[in-house]
Symmetry: none
Subunit: 206 residues, 4 copies
Amino acid sequence: MDSNSSYAKDDKLRRIMDAALTTFSRSGYQGATMQEVASEAGVGKGTIYLYFCSKEELLETVLLDVLKRYRDQIVQIISSEDASRTRMRRLVSEVVRGADRRRRQFRFLLQGSWGMGGEFKQRALSIKKDIMNSLAEFVSEGAEMGEFRDVDARLMAHIISGTLDSLAAAQLWNDEQTLEGQDDSWADDLAGAVVDCLCSGVEPEQ
Amino acid sequence: MDSNSSYAKDDKLRRIMDAALTTFSRSGYQGATMQEVASEAGVGKGTIYLYFCSKEELLETVLLDVLKRYRDQIVQIISSEDASRTRMRRLVSEVVRGADRRRRQFRFLLQGSWGMGGEFKQRALSIKKDIMNSLAEFVSEGAEMGEFRDVDARLMAHIISGTLDSLAAAQLWNDEQTLEGQDDSWADDLAGAVVDCLCSGVEPEQ
Amino acid sequence: MDSNSSYAKDDKLRRIMDAALTTFSRSGYQGATMQEVASEAGVGKGTIYLYFCSKEELLETVLLDVLKRYRDQIVQIISSEDASRTRMRRLVSEVVRGADRRRRQFRFLLQGSWGMGGEFKQRALSIKKDIMNSLAEFVSEGAEMGEFRDVDARLMAHIISGTLDSLAAAQLWNDEQTLEGQDDSWADDLAGAVVDCLCSGVEPEQ
Amino acid sequence: MDSNSSYAKDDKLRRIMDAALTTFSRSGYQGATMQEVASEAGVGKGTIYLYFCSKEELLETVLLDVLKRYRDQIVQIISSEDASRTRMRRLVSEVVRGADRRRRQFRFLLQGSWGMGGEFKQRALSIKKDIMNSLAEFVSEGAEMGEFRDVDARLMAHIISGTLDSLAAAQLWNDEQTLEGQDDSWADDLAGAVVDCLCSGVEPEQ
DNA sequence: GATGAATGAGCCTTCATTCAT
DNA sequence: TATGAATGAAGGCTCATTCAT
């Protein structure tokens, strides 16, 4: 019984955050109404205010939550013991696959934290920097291990991050020209080609 | 007199669109009020409705306008007769410089068209595809001329576009770690390093 | 035309304040809704916010306005050149008559400024003190002229003010036992009896 | 056990009514929330509804309770066997002292029953009339005993009642000009002066 | 054309009340 | 009996839009 009610409470919070993610993603922050979120979550409008003190706090919490999960996914992938190129490949394929599976979340990430203010922006930026730092470190370590050239790690992090975002966005925007064959291996094939570009560059070796 | 009033009319339209860009960029679409836009433009609130039938149409017009200008800038740069690497370099340096100079516009571009619907989204996507197509064509042509390897042009377009976006965003977010030395040549140096990564890749030649 | 529109604006403000007085008096501050006030005034809900920035400011303005008019009435009456007793008599009869005529306003005055905070309370208190000071001065002057005994003027002011309030309240509460015969002279007769009590006291002369 | 739980129940009821008095007095009827009252009483929000079926009933009960206690105090004082003037003096001094000691209650009384409707208003009025009747009777009896002149008893009741209210209000409003020396005997001195005014009147004997 | 006073639909938020535990 | 999580009606306020001037 105890564990039941405890479960129920967590469940309600989770349902609200999930509904908020869905609703904000569908209608945008300002466009979404608390009533929509409540209906989507299957709770009363007032119930949301038992967990979040304002619409803004709800958005911030959900946004940070998604951002953190994205960061954790990236960090986890590039922390493996595989060869740098392999890790990079997994990074691309997982993110692209994830964008497909969790469209709602990526909508959110790409939208970013526009219009949010002050303290929140700092926290969001902090997580974004985590991501950048992880990627930069990944590049540096690759160079130390002799698997990468000695390029500017921070710039390379921008290139990787930007590529991931662009691919995910294409996914969301349904860029069927780029990503049409959705069989089992399309993400891996895509990742292979992208990583080839990133690793070998676009210029022919002389 | 005719040409005068016509000029006056164009001028007023231009001031309104400029004010809208500034205001939407500062406060977001929903956060901005028509009163704000009117004040910023130095016209009466009702005047805006002589040129645009709704707030949404105003946003769409301004957004498409900015997108087009961005597209045109990119197209113009990569249409020159220079070597591919040189054009790519100019692409990066101009975009980064532009992000610095025209922050309002880039805010807008990165924010995208959230919450906008249907027909408008198609038009925005269409322009975004113009950009992608231009970049892909640029890569293809480079390959034909032997200046680029025979990589997947569309994927390389994503890499370039994503890199540009990531750099521009860092600019806006004031990522002072990446872009601190703001002397005259910082953009060129940055572009050089970025293009080196993109052209030669991150892996050492064997 | 100019004077017309100017009149219209003043008229709208006046209608809103009047409607607010009526509505607040009928339903209480918290009980009244802005929609009620708007309907009573025959304007749109938003229009009120062109003249007052919040419900609270509306209440404060109306309350201070009524308070000031009450103060001015009292000051005017006791500033005449008549004998002290005559002025006191007019004070009572006018206030009682006013309570009858302007019930809404007296409701307001008696309710006072409960729940209002800070700066406003100070301004209301300041006007209430004006009234007390005027009454005290009236008593002092009466004493100087030999028409009154040398009693504590401030205490006597409390007695007069309290008596006026109690009579006005009885009026409002429909104390038909006290104030039933509402012919032309009832107020004068009442005032005569009251002033007799206040002037000669309740104890028999020894 | 029975008497214990019965005691506990009475105790809880008392605590709730006390908390309501404090809370309503502090925040006003509409401003106070049931949660505030519950917290102040140290009980759960739902518990209040075991004793009162609505917020309004709670207010009415508490208000009538306070009114009755005030009435009883007045009746008790003027029912003694002392000389009329002595009783009047005790009336003033006790009320003023009481206003100091039980500010919360007087706040309530002075605030009155604004916004309350129908049946309740009748009951409150009924108690207020009790007070008026008691005072009028007191004056009549004084006249019968030859200690008072034969004035209109109901009007004199208004004068006394109004004076008491005005003094109590000054107390609450912190009218330090009137009531500053708060040593042991200030209330008695004040009462002496007030009663002198009421008994002998403000006009010099001729 | 240009304006801004006026409007009212719509939304965030509060809080009295209920009811499962 | 006692509780407080859950609810949803209701209200203050905003702001896109209109229209008389």
